[in-house]
Symmetry: C2
Subunit: 222 residues, 2 copies
Amino acid sequence: MRKAVILLSGGLDSATTLAIAKDAGYDCHALSFRYGQRHASELVAASQIAKQFGVSAHKTIPLDLGNIGGSALTDLSIQVPQEPTEGIPVTYVPARNTIFLSVALGWAEVLKATDIFIGVNAVDYSGYPDCRPEFITAFSLLANLATKAGVEGARYKIHTPLIDLSKADIIRKGLNLNLDYSLTLSCYTADDQGRACGKCDSCRLRREGFEAAEVADPTHYQ
Amino acid sequence: MRKAVILLSGGLDSATTLAIAKDAGYDCHALSFRYGQRHASELVAASQIAKQFGVSAHKTIPLDLGNIGGSALTDLSIQVPQEPTEGIPVTYVPARNTIFLSVALGWAEVLKATDIFIGVNAVDYSGYPDCRPEFITAFSLLANLATKAGVEGARYKIHTPLIDLSKADIIRKGLNLNLDYSLTLSCYTADDQGRACGKCDSCRLRREGFEAAEVADPTHYQ
């Protein structure tokens, strides 16, 4: 079995990505971050999802991006919008996916794995730059140059199985793979019990996805 | 004054890089990592150097790469070689510069800075893949694609003022800029008092640099 590192936030997209990697036969190693996110209850969801899928390992790395700030998710003085906004929203976390993929790359190299999965989506998404295909392509090139394994001939592949899918298609795919979406948490301002606000961009995209897929929304709302 | 983020380990190269950035007129923001390195006393050196150069800010981010391991610097069960070895040595830390540059990129974006300095060197070095010019070029391309600022037209520049210099040239440059090298710490196995072993690869390259530059070596040895 080939080993793979799967970035797992605990949200709908990353959980579906894990389900896809598992279904494809990879020996899954899940990676989460305690990055100072206001919705840290997503990490409880991540643990439950990792357990449900029987991953070989699940690491949660403490890396407080609140040290840097600049995002409504890591700086409590910046409010999370409750309605859609113009352009890239203030919930964008500077360089987040670059940082997370870099640590995933380090772990992959130690595991002698060359497959990394990330649940980015460039269809029903918030316009974050580090969710686009051109970013992923650039990171793949970097990964081969950055590592000892790359110098020795390894070729890293950053898998983005959701990148071209609508949210409804993602949900259908997950349900086909027996993913229990009630375990996942997408809300940016979830409370300590993991209940969603139903209003933020992430909640909106998720709710519209369940509506479009014509399946019941299992989200626990506040 | 233009703001810049300078990666500062506390070693000879990064201290010289800070001196060069300061001399070039940048408003310097120094960034260090408590990454589980066995030579954590380099962080004491980093603080002293940052203070000496009057940086506007100095952040030390806790990010324990011992969680991942795979290097003699973060896994105490792997010994640091006391003599030169073939190929890329076991002191290589998987994806380290990728991870450090990614966090530097995030901080730079928050500061509205587009200049990042890193003291990599591809002449008198240990062969680490993430010190080579092609790695730096790839990271620059990634930075523009990864960020909101990049999407809005910012062009990041990763400055590597030491990349083509010999260790002796680096030392001469630093001395011209009044850098006190007795403050710097390069040794991989320095003791708690910041005294160097004199035998590891990093000590060897440093000592040979002072010899070639024909200046007294101010290193505190054990």
